[in-house]
């Protein structure tokens, strides 16, 4: 059977034009997808049942047993942490928030290690953004700053920017100017019209210099800023000012390098400055398929997009204090529930080490590095493969993920609803 218009749940692009051929509960072919999409659908290896760590190794347990024990761990905890959420659908995320509120937990999503700084910057100065459709149809200047879409978002350029034919830019490759800012050469810099190579940690200074040049203060700027010649900065400022419509996309090279949210704030203020001359927008290149959705769901329900602390019954938010990495590094939390993410693979060592010290439960379709740190792993459906649900694209557009096959696993929303019921002793959310 061939399913049309399937949404790939892997990255924030949520490409919705895939063609998936299935044979019963098996996916046999993926068409239109990038290599990441193909691996997502084809290499879907899962645990057959929940497992629990014992003195002698791992043992298989029933779903009922796993759910009861998880509820018990969370009930006993004085500072539980619920983390992850970005690779599953919004329905699961909302139940996670309900559980956090019920037990006085801290709930955080993967923004904390990716675009959390972007959110902090947006909270300071706003977000002059737009949908990817606008960029595709209008943008004649594209800036990729601190990101490598050719490898991390392989279809971003072909669907929305460099190679995409737009309504007002019919000959995309000829009409669009692509500027790439990075600390080293990548596959993306190879197709840039202008490559700006900056020194590590020099983003803030370069952005400040560009803002000053656009404001007419070029005389203040020294001959070189963070390894970039003043002539190149002046040339880029001119390209941007003369654009009909410009779009800046940025990645972790900006958000997770020295200065973090101040870098993003500076980029937003450059966008603001350029919009005094022409139309400019800026957007983060989001990583996990539904990380934007986790920010949306958390914000609707708590008022805050990530790092929400319910310890006192009300939502409190203060990244640096209530973020998962910081709570783990300080050894604060005494139990953790990890859903649809892999902090064991990408958290700092001290934070990951604390996960191994406390009772940690993982609810994830796949075995990952966090499994090795956990006490219980409960396998479930994978959103967009064998579970339907809502996800948000990197530009804030909600897209319905399809269920392509049925592999007989319970939905993570169903597992969490049962945990909620065990904790509450009544009806779930």
């Amino acid at each position: 059977m061939i399913e049309q218009d399937v949404v790939c749940p892997f990255c924030g692009c949520l490409c919705d034009d895939l063609e998936i051929e299935t044979d019963g509960a098996r996916i046999v072919r993926v068409k239109n997808g990038c290599s990441l999409a193909e691996a997502t659908f084809m290499n879907d290896t899962r645990l057959p049942a929940p497992i629990r760590r014992t003195e002698a190794g791992w043992e298989e347990i029933s779903y009922d047993e796993a759910i009861s024990e998880t509820a018990e761990i969370l009930r006993e905890a004085d500072r539980p942490l619920l983390y992850g959420w970005s690779s599953t659908h919004g329905e699961t995320q909302s139940i996670g928030v309900h559980i956090a509120e019920l037990i006085g937990a801290v709930i955080d999503n993967t923004s904390t290690v990716c675009h959390g700084p972007s959110i902090l910057a947006i909270q300071e100065v706003g977000h002059p953004g737009c949908t990817l459709g606008q960029v595709k149809n209008r943008a004649d200047v594209i800036i990729y700053w601190g990101c490598n879409p050719v490898e991390a978002h392989p279809r971003h350029m072909s669907r929305y920017t460099t190679f995409a034919t737009g309504f007002f830019v019919p000959e995309a490759q000829r009409e669009r100017t692509v500027i790439v800012v990075d600390t080293r050469r990548t596959d993306t810099t190879n197709i840039a019209d202008e490559f700006v190579q900056i020194e590590h940690g020099g983003d803030y200074a370069v952005l400040s210099a560009l803002r000053a040049i656009v404001r007419g203060k070029a005389h203040v700027i020294p001959a070189s800023v963070a390894g970039v010649a003043k002539e190149q900065l002046v040339r880029i400022a001119e390209i941007c000012k003369n654009a009909k419509f410009g779009a800046i996309f940025f990645g972790l090279g900006l958000t997770m390098s020295r200065g973090k949210y101040k870098n993003v704030r500076n980029a937003i203020e450059l966008t603001d400055e350029l919009s005094r001359h022409t139309k400019f927008v800026i957007s983060p290149l989001r990583g996990h398929g539904n990380v934007y959705g986790s920010n949306e769901v958390f914000t609707w329900m708590t008022g805050y997009p990530f790092a929400v602390d319910f310890a006192r019954g009300i939502a409190f938010y203060n990244p640096g204090e209530t973020t998962a990495v910081d709570i783990l590094r300080r050894g604060e939390c005494d139990a953790a529930l990890i859903v649809a993410s892999d902090p064991g693979a990408n958290f700092p060592r001290a934070a990951a080490a604390h996960l191994a010290k406390i009772p940690t439960v993982v609810i994830d379709p796949h075995v990952n590095a966090t499994t090795a740190l956990s006490r219980i792993h409960i396998p479930c459906t994978a959103a967009g493969i064998d579970a339907a649900g809502t996800a948000y694209r990197m530009d804030g557009i909600p897209i319905r993920l399809k269920k392509v096959i049925d592999r007989g696993y319970p939905d993570d929303a169903e597992i969490l609803r049962k945990i909620y019921d065990r904790l509450d002793g009544g009806m779930g959310p």
Binding site: S208, A209, E332
Partner: protein, 257 residues
């Protein structure tokens, strides 16, 4: 009146305690106060040995002394308006949040957000201060607006972010971005600083040590002699990435771009 709170040994010492109830004024009515340990509500006596010496008829005559392991206790002195708090060791985050009067002395080091959105009063920290010393809450356009924060050790990153009023005096070094987004007030750093005063709009910052990575958007406007220290200072105006009406003075010998 002197109220001595000596922390008890806890089963889970890493759990944070939120103790905004610990301000001198609250002890006028007794010591029956509530704090939070993790997600559990506790009485003050569950976590501290409490000793009260003498009496007081007004809060300005009350001194609260914190002893023992107090490094995980947050929000001590929040909304404090009078009286004195003496912390003999280290103190947790948010000490002196929104403080408008009185004095807090910390003999050890303070964690992040010391004197956050302070309006008045004095905080003296004998050790080091963490990140975001004398700043504002996330997204807040004005940080500290009045009072004095003096740190005898070093301060972390983003010290005096959004400073809008009052005086911040760091005797040691600061981390990255001291005085970033400054709107007013005075910041004095006796040690070194990295990328000071980014996006500064107003106010004044004096740095006596070495400046690392001076931002390219500060315009040198002259020199100035600090008579009390007999130091010649380079005077910069900025940040010209925005309106650029702030003043940054850097000891002439110490600049490294």
């Amino acid at each position: 009146m002197r109220v001595i709170l000596e922390s008890k040994v806890r089963k889970k010492p890493s759990l944070p305690i939120e103790a905004e109830a610990i301000i001198p004024r609250n002890f006028l009515k007794g010591t029956d106060l509530v704090v939070f340990e993790g997600n559990k509500e506790r009485t003050l006596s569950e976590l501290f040995w409490i000793f009260v010496e003498g009496t007081a008829v007004s809060p300005e005559n009350i001194e609260v002394v914190l002893k023992g392991d107090t490094s995980r206790i947050k929000r001590v002195g929040e909304y404090m308006d009078t009286g004195t708090i003496l912390i003999e060791g280290d103190i947790g985050m948010h000490c002196g949040n929104f403080m408008s009067g009185g004095t807090i002395e910390i003999r050890g080091s303070a964690d992040a957000w010391l004197g956050r959105e302070m309006r008045g009063g004095t905080i003296v920290c004998r050790g080091n201060a963490g990140h975001y010393c004398a700043t504002g809450y996330r997204g807040e356009k004005k940080g500290m607006q009045g009072g004095t924060v003096e740190v005898f050790g070093n301060a972390g990153d983003f010290c005096a972010e959004y400073l809008a009023g009052g005086t911040v005096h760091i005797h040691g070094h600061t981390g990255d971005f001291p005085g970033v987004e400054m709107r007013g007030g005075e910041l004095l750093i006796e040690g070194d600083a990295t990328r000071p005063c980014g996006n500064m709009k107003n106010g004044s910052c004096v740095i006596l040590g070495t400046v690392h990575d001076l931002l390219p958007t500060f315009e040198k406007s002259g020199t100035h002699l600090l008579p009390e220290r007999n130091l010649e200072m380079d005077v910069y105006t900025g940040d010209v990435a925005n309106r650029g009406k702030g003043t940054m003075m850097v000891a002439s010998r110490a600049l490294r771009r």
